[in-house]
Symmetry: D2
Subunit: 333 residues, 4 copies
């Protein structure tokens, strides 16, 4: 399987390094419009061809699959051309700038019999795999809330707001872990720059079932947080991605309540117990994602981080943007 | 000045202890409908009279001022009776269950020439005093956002939701620190109990100026957070109330941006610098509040934590509840 | 059982409060040479008699047992007089200023049929009880090392050095947990004051078995540490007493080694696994100690924190002082 | 300047990468007796010659300077041969296995007019440079103690004990920062393996001036600590190398004492104030060290981390080993 990678920015070197390690897979070409980035590719990997023109990858007979790691607004046209030229496509997150674009790509891929996949890398981390296992095994119980904070002093993006930039990680984890259908969103935010792109934003995802999810995102925080709380009626869980190894903590903590019918009063019993910090799989997540892409092409199977998940994430992002622009109004999904 | 205290629950012992230490002030009576609570008062303070009937305080000729530390739904009627009987009143936060009640009490106090005050204790902490000073001295610069998290496994209240219970602390700090007029609120939340009272809730306060405030509150978190972020265009500040002494951290962190007119692109310069942790005044805040109450009565001055602040907090809480009940709709204040 | 307490300094109020709560026990008298301390006793506990003369307790017919919470250099003479007057004695740690004094008191108590006990409060904490249980149940395996740090900006004592002041806590825990006989000590230290009393000191306790214990103590650290590491060949344990609730962490961490005979090389297999934070008993330790004192008198049983333990601690402290004065020379116990 | 690097283990790749970036310097050859390590070199750096025989570097006419990153027991013979063949030498820490070896190499280098340097990388970190500046500027005041902990679950070395493995970092920092002459050492330790090599050890360095330094080292701790406390009579400083950016904290903390002549009592005034966390230089330390090596050769100047420092460290290590073997006896330096 010969791979071409378009875009050699922050994430590009990680993609090249990991795809180089996957069995039955060779990184043949890298393209970036910045000549200085390509010089670095050539120095580090003398065997890889480089080009400033993505068409050298998109139209090449040698290339079987294309990885697109460019700014979001270019995803659609590059992916479309790749699919039209018979290449499997892996898109960095977020998948596209709109639902419409995502759906058109999915239809095209289906029609051509090609794999279209989105790189939601977090699904392949030891932490998320452990959380999925704990939820599947009913350790956590019935899930009641999901609360995520992803804030730091971060790079202002020029084409998308802070939710489109940071929330896809957490939304993809939510959708992967919690098998419920989101009903609506409310979002608020603020831009401190003249371009009107929000650098602080808050998102609530509402469900018709008794469950709520909330996301805080900021590019302008002096402290860095990468924290997720998941509350179940049996146990509660905290995922702190900044911890070097103790990322997941499971709290044997909760409460039971009953209504005192006579007095119309709530009776609550609290429970705090042991805390348990499981050892996590430490394999690099990106390698797992890259392997899933190659294996799914080879075996014609559906990858974990598939296009439908990418689309579901886009749907929430698009609705959240609409909510922000309408003063936090509820947007039905 | 003779004081009567109504309600000897969680906060009551702190009130008795601190008012006992204030000059020109004597705690004469304590009332609570629970006999076992009064036994504790008598054991610890043999000199204080106790009663299960609040009228023994409200109608007593001996009592000059009444402190009301009972559930919120009882605040209005108790405070009204106290004012009608010529007594100064200190109400625990939140002031009342509604704007209407708060306004009626304020009018009554004005008419009677009595002091009506609300105990927003945080205003008297070393941390908030330091933050106020830093903002006044323009150290932080133009304030851009305010973000508060107050979550833990907490006591479910039976008459008010988690915002009414926990957010008054943070809203009173916001209003005290930031001299801007809130424009509207959006709030979302969820109840995991049958009584429909939200135990997790999120609140955004919008301003017509370029500023936003957000609050996360929960009674059902396995971890306890008491954190506030305040971002200015010169420096940023974190207040972590769980730190035993290093509660305030000032980050010499920020960014400058300009718009590249030709390329229609945002140019951002990031800056991270030293961190500074100021020593804080360590006097007990509640003593400061109690002294302010007594001094304001004696000197006929306005206390820091005055009734207007109490009302402003109630206004935001009432609007937030309305927003939650209307699916997060923006409520203009 | 009527109790008299001599010394109402830092620890005195805690002693009065806890002994007041123990069944079959009444705090009758408190003595302190500082009149202002006695005023506080009378205000808080109008029922307790006070005196500046300890003899009013030591010679009183009413008093059955005496608690001595004065500076170390006064322990011996006060305790001796109490025993001679037929009173059971509880001494604060460290028991006495020397082995000789401790032994004389023990003999006297034995002869008189009275209880002599030392308040090593830590033995009654939930944390130490949990550690004892984990070690007894062989969860930790064969214990290999014990390492304690107890440092902060602390009160300089005028009669004893930092080891005599701080290490008794940790040495009593060591002796309680680890059922091995110490063989010798080495200690080093420094005094930054003219009185020559060490304010920073380090102590190693050597064992003939393959086990070592080390203690760091300081009154002049800008940061506060209360940390203990206990390494076993099955698991390792960290006790951090500054954590509000998560004081004990058990690491499923270790290594196996074998000697590669041919190559004369060490082969080591490392293992890192889950971490487990047990819920601890949260009852106040001092109440447990006070109850043990009263019950041991009543039932003529041996308390957990008995005089022999107090003596063993003194023996190590005396040897450590000798080692410091002899440039760290090994002192056989 | 053409460089040959002998030893491509844990540290080798960092050396190759950093020397490759230094001006006027080219990494020509890498040698390691393990063929699989050389394969990695060739893959990553196709331009570098490789060999399993160090003589191919030591005897090469092309090579101007040799970097030796092999186990300690091989340092002396490799460095000697390099110097005899007219090559400048950089040795990884610890410099050699004994004072005798270190002195012989220093004499040989002097005689040949070649640079002999030891890689104490920490001297080039932003943290140590900042501490050096703070001490030089008299911010900290007169230094009173130095306390270092370097513990974790670490690789058991086969030829040296835990002090020789871990303490050189901290001893080199001590000697670099504190301009005082050590007088003697005491050390204790324990081996839990059959080869008798200590895996836990404690070292005190005594000074004739009123200053003490202490080091805790362990390969068998479940938690990782990299902490250094430096106490001055004006301020105190904590260096926590595990903090990603806030490595240095300066505490405006201290005490003043005077002796109350009449009462022969110590009067102590405590002071706790602000904490200050300076921004640190973030350039890679190893690059600074590599540049210093190349520049010192070119300009015939003395590097910061010179052979004398390497020897001073060895002297302390040798004495500490002697102390451990003599039951903690003081060894005069």
């Amino acid at each position: 399987m010969n791979i071409g990678i378009i875009g050699y920015g922050y994430w590009g070197p990680n993609l090249v390094r990991n795809f180089s390690l996957v069995n039955n897979c060779k990184v043949k070409m890298v393209s970036d419009f910045r000549q200085d980035r390509l010089v670095i590719v050539s120095k580090t990997y003398p065997g890889i061809k480089v080009s400033t023109d993505p068409d050298d990858i998109l139209l090449s007979k040698e290339i079987d699959a294309v990885v697109i790691a460019t700014p979001v607004f270019t995803h659609f046209s590059l992916a479309k051309k790749a699919l039209e030229n018979g290449k499997h496509v892996l898109l960095e997150k977020p998948m596209t700038s709109s639902i419409k674009e995502a759906e058109e790509l999915m239809n095209l891929a289906k029609q051509k019999g090609l794999l279209l996949m989105v790189d939601h890398t977090f699904l392949y981390t030891g932490a998320v795999m452990k959380m999925k296992q704990l939820i599947n095994e009913k350790t956590i119980g019935k899930i009641q809330y999901f609360d995520s904070s992803r804030i730091n002093l971060g790079l202002f993006q020029i084409d998308v707001n802070v939710l489109w930039d940071l929330a896809p990680h957490d939304i993809s984890i939510l959708l992967h872990l919690i098998n419920k259908k989101p009903y609506s969103v409310n979002a608020t935010g603020i831009s401190h720059t003249k371009n009107g792109i929000e650098n602080v934003a808050y998102l609530t995802i509402n469900y018709s079932e008794n469950f709520i999810a909330h996301f805080s995102c900021s590019w302008t925080s002096p402290v860095k947080l990468r924290t997720m709380l998941i509350g179940g009626d049996k146990k509660m869980l905290v995922f702190n991605d900044l911890e070097p190894s103790e990322k997941i903590r499971i709290y044997d903590t909760g409460y039971n309540y009953k209504t005192d019918e006579e007095k119309n009063r709530l009776m609550v019993d609290y429970r705090t117990g042991d805390v348990y910090i499981p050892k996590l799989e430490s394999k690099e997540a990106l390698f797992g994602m890259a392997s899933d892409f190659i294996n799914s092409i080879t075996n014609k199977t559906e990858p974990l981080s598939n296009a439908q998940l990418g689309l579901d994430v886009i749907q929430i992002l698009e609705a959240s943007q609409q909510s922000i622009k309408n003063n936090g109004k509820e947007i039905i999904l």
